[in-house]
C-alpha cells in the first residue's frame, strides 16, 4: 500500500544575512549585481560572504494512511520548517514530497482572523482560509459554535473577545476540518487547562477516526498518548523513527548536554550550555553513593548521594558558594542544594583546586531523570554556571521496606500510619517505628 505521505531527502537551506533575514533595497541589489552580473539570485553556494544554514538535512520518512505521527525535537531542530514545507508555505531546497491525500495545516491558531469581523464572519473567513468550502462551513457551523461555547457572542466583533474565547473559536474552526492529512504545530500550547483538555480530547478523536495526523508538540505526554509513531529531529536530521514511546524516550535521554559522560564522573570542560564571568572554574563533577561507591547506574530512591564538585579558586578566598539545582524532565526545579545554607564553613581561606562535596544522606526524589544545574559564586557574585551539567537517574526501589515500590508523586518522605485511640500502642509508650528507607 502506497504511503499517503512520503518525505524524501528534504533539505532546506537558509542564507543568513540581510538578504534573507530582511529584504534588500534596490541599491543593494545593484551593488550585488555589479559585483557579479551573471550570478543567479539563488546561487548561495558561491557567495562566500554569507553564512549558510541548513535547517533540514536529508529528511526522509513515510506515513501510511491512518497513522498518527509525532514529530519531536528541541527548539531549532527543524520541526516547524519541516511542517512549513509539507504545508507548501515554503519550498524545499532539495528533495521532494509525495502527497496522496488532501492536506490541511494548523500552524497557528486564528490565522486570518480579523478583529473587526464578528465571530460568525471569522468562522467563515478562517474556515475558507484553512481550505473548507462554503457548504462545508455551513454544515459544521453549529458544531463549531458549540465546541467554542460562544453562541451568545457570535455577532460581536472578535476584538471584543477575551483571549480565551478567541483561542477557543480559532481552535474550534480548525478542529472541524476534515482533510485526509492533518498537520498540527504546537497549537495545544495555548489556552487554559480546561481548554487544553478539550483540545487534547478532540485530537484524540481525530486520531481515532482513522485520519492521518502529523503532530508537533513539546508536550511529551500528549505525544505518547495520541501518536503511535515518533520521529525525532535533531539539528535538521532525523535521528529516530519508531514508536512514539521510544521516540519520547530517545528525545528525553538526549536533552542532557553532558557530552562528558553520564557515568559517575563528568568532565565539565566539555559542557556546552555554560556562562562564565572570567574563567571556567568548574572542572569536574563526581557522584558517589552509599559506602562511597562510584555511582555508575541509577540511584535507588532514598539512597545517599555525594556530589563531589571539582573547581579552581584562582585567588585565596573564603567567600565562595556552590549551588546544585535538580530539574525534572519538565524543566521544573524540584530541589536546590546550596552551600550558602551550610552552617559549618570552617575552612577559612583556600586557593587552587578544590573538591567541594555535597552530602545528601537520602535523596528521596521519585524515579526519573534529573538534570543538574551547577554554579559557583565567588564573593557573592556568579562566577561560573553550567546548565545540564550532568544527569542523575533515580530508579525504583522498595523505599519503605515493605516489598512495595512507591509509584506516585514527586518525592517520598519518611512517614508512618497509626490508629489514634485511647489505648496506648504498648505499655512503654514507645512510638511505632517510622517507615523509612531500608537500605
Amino acid at each position: 500500500m502506497e504511503p499517503i505521505l512520503e518525505v524524501n531527502g528534504i533539505s532546506k537551506e537558509y542564507v543568513l544575512g540581510r538578504h534573507v533575514g530582511g529584504p534588500e533595497t534596490f541599491r543593494e541589489l545593484f551593488q550585488r549585481k555589479l559585483a557579479a552580473p551573471f550570478r543567479r539570485n539563488d546561487a548561495p553556494k558561491l557567495d562566500i560572504h554569507r553564512e549558510h544554514f541548513w535547517a533540514l538535512r536529508d529528511v526522509s520518512f513515510s506515513v501510511q494512511e491512518g497513522e498518527v505521527v509525532g514529530i519531536i525535537g528541541r527548539n531549532g531542530a527543524g520541526k516547524s520548517t519541516l511542517l512549513k514545507i509539507i504545508s507548501r508555505i515554503t519550498d524545499p531546497t532539495q528533495g521532494f514530497i509525495h502527497l496522496r491525500g488532501r492536506l490541511a495545516s494548523l500552524l497557528e491558531v486564528g490565522t486570518g482572523f480579523h478583529p473587526e469581523l464578528t465571530g460568525r464572519e471569522n468562522i467563515y473567513m478562517n474556515g475558507a482560509i484553512l481550505g473548507m468550502k462554503k457548504a462545508e462551513i455551513n454544515r459544521e457551523f453549529d458544531a463549531i459554535v458549540d465546541f467554542a461555547e460562544i453562541e451568545k457572542f457570535l455577532d460581536t466583533p472578535v476584538k471584543h473577545y477575551s483571549s480565551g474565547m478567541y483561542v477557543r473559536l480559532a481552535f474550534a474552526v480548525a478542529a472541524h476540518l476534515h482533510p485526509e492529512i492533518l498537520v498540527v504545530d504546537e497549537v495545544l500550547a495555548v489556552g487554559d487547562v480546561t481548554f487544553q483538555k478539550k483540545c487534547l480530547g478532540k485530537m484524540s478523536d481525530v486520531s481515532k477516526s482513522g485520519r492521518t495526523v502529523l503532530f508537533v508538540s513539546h508536550n511529551m505526554a500528549a505525544v505518547e498518548n495520541l501518536c503511535q509513531r515518533g520521529v525525532v529531529l535533531e539539528r535538521g536530521k532525523v535521528v529516530f523513527d519508531g514508536t512514539a514511546k521510544d521516540g519520547v524516550k530517545h528525545y528525553l535521554s538526549g536533552i542532557s548536554t553532558a557530552p562528558g559522560g553520564t557515568g559517575h564522573s563528568v568532565d565539565l570542560s566539555l559542557a556546552k550550555d555554560r556562562r562564565s564571568q572570567q574563567a571556567e572554574l568548574l572542572r569536574r563533577i563526581e557522584f558517589t553513593t552509599d559506602g562511597n561507591r562510584d555511582l555508575t547506574e541509577g540511584l535507588p530512591i532514598g539512597s545517599g548521594l555525594k556530589v563531589h564538585v571539582h573547581f579552581d579558586l584562582p585567588r585565596p578566598t573564603a567567600s565562595f558558594n556552590v549551588g546544585l539545582g535538580f530539574d525534572n524532565i519538565f524543566g521544573q526545579r524540584v530541589f536546590t542544594a546550596h552551600s550558602f545554607f551550610e552552617p559549618n564553613r570552617s575552612h577559612g581561606e583556600v586557593v587552587g583546586p578544590q573538591v567541594f562535596v555535597c552530602d545528601i544522606p537520602s535523596l528521596t526524589l521519585m524515579p526519573g531523570d534529573y538534570l543538574l544545574r551547577l554554579w559557583l559564586d565567588l564573593n557573592n557574585s556568579e562566577a561560573d554556571l553550567i546548565n545540564d551539567a550532568a544527569r542523575i537517574t533515580v530508579v525504583e526501589s522498595d523505599y519503605y521496606g515493605t516489598g512495595k515500590a512507591p509509584w506516585n508523586g514527586a518525592f517520598v518522605l519518611p512517614h508512618n500510619w497509626y490508629l489514634e485511640s485511647g489505648s496506648k500502642v504498648n505499655s512503654n509508650d514507645e512510638k511505632p517505628s517510622v517507615l523509612t528507607a531500608k537500605l
Partner: protein
C-alpha cells in the same frame, strides 16, 4: 485514499500559472474580497462615502484649477463631467495599485502560516475596489442627469474598459506586490509614481490636445485607453480606436506579465517576508 495527489519539489525559474489550483480555491478569492469590503466599510463612519469623495473632490479641484484658471477645455462634455468620467477609472486604478502593492506585506501572517494561491491576495484587493468603482459610476450617472447629458449606445462598451482597468491594475499590482516583498523601496516609490501618472494620462486634459506623435506615446500608458474608453462609453466622447487598441493590448500584456513575475517570485515569499 482519495485520488488527489501532489508532489512538492524545489522551485526555480519561471513557474506555470496553475489554473487548476486557482479554480479549486476559487471560493477563497470571493471570501477575501468579501472580507476586504466588510473591513473597509466597517472601520469608518464615512466608509462608502469616502470612496466617492475622493473623485468628487478631485473633480472640483480640477475644474477650478485646470479648467477655470488654466483654461483647459474638454473635447465636448461639460468639464466637470469630463473630469469625473476620467477620474472614476483612474481612482480605481490608483487605489488598487497602491493597496495591492502592499497587500502581501500587510497580510504576512497569511503568507507565512497557511497555504493558498498567494495570487489571491493582491487580486482580492483589486476586486474589493470594484464596489467603489460601481458607486462612483452611479454618482456619475447622477451628475449626467444634473447636466442633462444623455447616455448613448456606446455605453455597451463599458464592460470592456472596466475589464481593461481590472487587468491593468491587477497586472501592475501583482508585479509590485511581489517585488515589494523583496525590495521594500517599492512601498515608497509607488505613491509618487501614481501621483505623476495622472499627468501622463488624459484625465485632466483630452488626448486631442497632443499632436499625433505624442498621442502614440501616450497610448503606451494602459490607462489612456481605459480613460478614453470610459469617456466614450459614458459621455459619447470621440475616441481614437488606434491608440485605444494599443493601450488595451498593453493592459492584457501587463496582466500576463504580472502573473508570471508573481509566480516566479512566489517561492521565496515565506522565507523573506
Amino acid at each position: 485514499m482519495s485520488s488527489f495527489t501532489l508532489t512538492i519539489r524545489p522551485k526555480s525559474g519561471w513557474q506555470p500559472l496553475d489554473l487548476r489550483e486557482a479554480f479549486l480555491y476559487r471560493e477563497l478569492l470571493g471570501f477575501l474580497i468579501w472580507r476586504d469590503v466588510k473591513i473597509r466599510y466597517r472601520q469608518t463612519a464615512l466608509g462608502g462615502i469616502w470612496a466617492l469623495l475622493q473623485p468628487l473632490i478631485a473633480m472640483m479641484i480640477f475644474t477650478f484649477v485646470f479648467h477655470r484658471m488654466a483654461g483647459v477645455h474638454s473635447d465636448g462634455p461639460p468639464y466637470p463631467l469630463f473630469a469625473f468620467a476620467g477620474l472614476t477609472p483612474w481612482t480605481f486604478f490608483a487605489t488598487a495599485v497602491n493597496q495591492s502593492s502592499n497587500s502581501l506585506i500587510s497580510n504576512q501572517q497569511l503568507v507565512s502560516k497557511v497555504y493558498f494561491p498567494r495570487i489571491f491576495i493582491p487580486l482580492g484587493c483589486v476586486g474589493a475596489l470594484l464596489l467603489d468603482m460601481v458607486l462612483s459610476l452611479m454618482l456619475l450617472l447622477g451628475l449626467m442627469i444634473y447636466y442633462s447629458w444623455a447616455l448613448t449606445w456606446a455605453v455597451l462598451w463599458l464592460p470592456v474598459f472596466v475589464l481593461a482597468a481590472i487587468l491593468a491594475a491587477s497586472g501592475i499590482g501583482l508585479m509590485l506586490s511581489a517585488l515589494n516583498v523583496n525590495f521594500r523601496d517599492v512601498k515608497y516609490a509607488v505613491p509618487f509614481l501614481i501621483q505623476m501618472g495622472i499627468f501622463v494620462t488624459p484625465v485632466i486634459y483630452p488626448a486631442s490636445y497632443l499632436s499625433s506623435k505624442w498621442r502614440y506615446i501616450l497610448a503606451l500608458n494602459p490607462m489612456t485607453g481605459v480613460v478614453e474608453g470610459f469617456r466614450h462609453a459614458l459621455l459619447g466622447s470621440p475616441i481614437a480606436w488606434g491608440s485605444a487598441g494599443i493601450s488595451l493590448g498593453i493592459c492584457v500584456l501587463l496582466f500576463i506579465a504580472g502573473l508570471f513575475v508573481f509566480r516566479r517570485l512566489e517561492a521565496r515569499f515565506a522565507d523573506v517576508i
